[in-house]
Symmetry: C3
Subunit: 270 residues, 3 copies
């Protein structure tokens, strides 16, 4: 696997500051389970979330947004159509679309909807768990409910293959997070096991990715920076939590108050 080019620490810290200064509007169409956490983490990362999923509302709202996040966690006919409208509006406006294919492979409806979105909309970033990315890459992987049971045999390669085929930046999260632009693949090694004990931490990552690619452009580095900021904040939060319940508010605090020095001290990229 290729090495990361340049000084990642400085790059992550610089992007964190840029996002906080830009206060990007990030339009979400997402599930009703974790939507509040997405809104709050987006604010804590420096963004301004908006969550409208009415087709009457979407084109005008997207026109002012910096990025669109589509999350298929709780689909229905109305919202899956709304995702296509939002995605096409974003393509027209030239702003990036982040797709979180929650539960892809668990049911054919989810798989078909993810494929329909990917056919209809130019996707800038696909961010899923290792199982979802393995399945979309056609490289194996198993999803039960909305959780990865197993990823591809080689998640780094699956990530790279899917990136090549889709021309998107692809991120597969797990104990190690892999990010690829089709040429280079990074392995991000920050995080805490508590992230798996809270519903929606994957969705929250996608919201932060929206903030970063909407502000800093779509690149391997901006996606990796978003994931790393979240995971480093999670490490700090874990040290102050007594369990999954107190971890979540601490995680939001840590995203909001993260300092460049924390990134310097903790970032693990290979």
């Amino acid at each position: 696997m290729a090495k990361f080019r340049g000084d990642m620490n400085q790059s992550v810290a610089t992007m964190m500051t840029r996002v906080r200064d830009a206060h990007p509007l990030v339009h979400h169409i997402t599930n009703y389970v974790t939507v509040n956490d997405c809104a709050n983490v987006c604010i804590c990362a420096g963004g301004a979330p908006v969550m409208t999923d009415a087709v009457q509302d979407i084109p005008e709202m997207v026109a002012h947004a910096s990025a669109v996040v589509l999350n298929i966690g709780t689909l229905n006919s109305r919202t899956s159509d709304a995702m296509i409208v939002a995605g096409k509006s974003a393509n027209l406006a030239g702003i990036p679309v982040v797709l979180d294919p929650v539960g892809v492979g668990a049911t054919s409806y989810r798989t078909e909807t993810a494929e329909r979105i990917m056919r209809s909309v130019k996707i800038a970033v696909i961010k899923g768990n290792a199982g979802e990315i393995g399945i979309l890459a056609g490289a194996g992987g198993e999803v039960r409910g909305v959780d990865a049971v197993s990823g591809a045999h080689d998640t780094a390669s699956a990530t790279q293959q899917l990136a090549q085929r889709t021309n998107a930046i692809v991120a597969a999260t797990g104990q190690i997070d892999y990010v690829s632009d089709g040429t280079t693949a990074l392995a991000l090694r920050n995080g805490t096991p508590l992230l798996e004990q809270v519903s929606g931490t994957g969705c929250m990552v996608s919201s932060i990715v929206g903030c970063y690619v909407g502000t800093c452009g779509v690149s391997l580095e901006s996606v990796a920076a978003a994931i790393s900021v979240f995971n480093i904040a999670a490490e700090i939060a874990a040290s102050k939590a007594d369990g999954p319940g107190t971890f979540k508010p601490r995680l939001l605090d840590a995203v909001a108050t993260l300092r460049p020095a924390d990134i310097d001290a903790r970032l693990k990229v290979a």
Copy 2:
């Protein structure tokens, strides 16, 4: 701007106790982003929240309610129709309707829906941010997503004008909160910057306004009391929080445990 009439401190503390004793049922039709926070803050303030948005359910549910809160944060065709049904049911039952015109001005769908609700339903209180109130008053103001970019040139006047035109009590929240009944306007100066770093704090205010006007009647004082209770609780919570994440549970604690002495010590009304 006119001064507040009488002893506001005593008035706020008295109303707080009345709401806690009355345990008012407050029917919400609201957005799916912050609905849980609205439910919990309503309980903490002394109320009993109910959130049904099915037209089959609404007339019977409203018949037992003390107030109805309509929040257009995440509209769709089904819920905007439900809001009209709920509002008309409330009008028939003689209970107050609170309108939170979230994101009005950001899209024409939101503006049209807010206007449709205001034409179809007698609104007792309009509570928005400074941008939303400026736009509804036709006095300027800009909304991006669901956040105010700027209010009217003179938010106090815009609040007063909208109150005169609609015969509603109007509140515009921001660093200073303005409340007017069309004759008098109050400036409320409690709060903390952390309120802007948590999604849904504006929605939470509207839920508390529902509790207060449903229990104490619709007046400049009851709306101002609701906002002040929330903002004073927020000040106390801020002193115990390490960031936006730990602020929210502390805010709910503070609303639930606020004492008359806290109001005496902190209330800032002009």
Copy 3:
């Protein structure tokens, strides 16, 4: 009322461990107010929540689930149909269905929907508050909004009657929780008044019941164990909370970290 048969303490601790080891997938169709709390408490109890309510998704998702939880807190035409589909899929798959008849008796739509679900689907467990169970049992009880105003004259008997009529395990929660299989009735005396100051604690119990009956089978004991684990965790959380806001994260922590020794020390069953 009959006594509990055998060593309940050991039984509860054993079941808690079994659930944590089994990591049961629990499919919810539930309300949008408290859905996030249901997801998180399910994870903390050892389960894997999934919340899809699209009819296109349900049969395949249910096929991999260990239990289905149907909660009518915020019904609409689409989701009430989805509940029937999910319930029938669960019946076909031979996995238990837990019904939480939120607000039954408050409106005729809720009552009719609960009855329609009970006619169309074999229900394994009915878990409601004392008012809801009293109403379903035809034994009195009053519900205002989604809260019990009063239960049946004799909630233990109402619970037993409803269990006999429906062949379900029935649980009526309140200051004392009653659980019956139609023959035996248990009175569970754990808990804290803070549970009534947080929206959705009843919904959270139903999610944990889903984990327990999905792992340990449908029985008086497994339902009682689920309720007791939650209520004992709530007692521990209450001792660390400053109000309803800080109580909720502490409650999730306590469910996740509860030890058999805590059950030994605290369980109150008669």
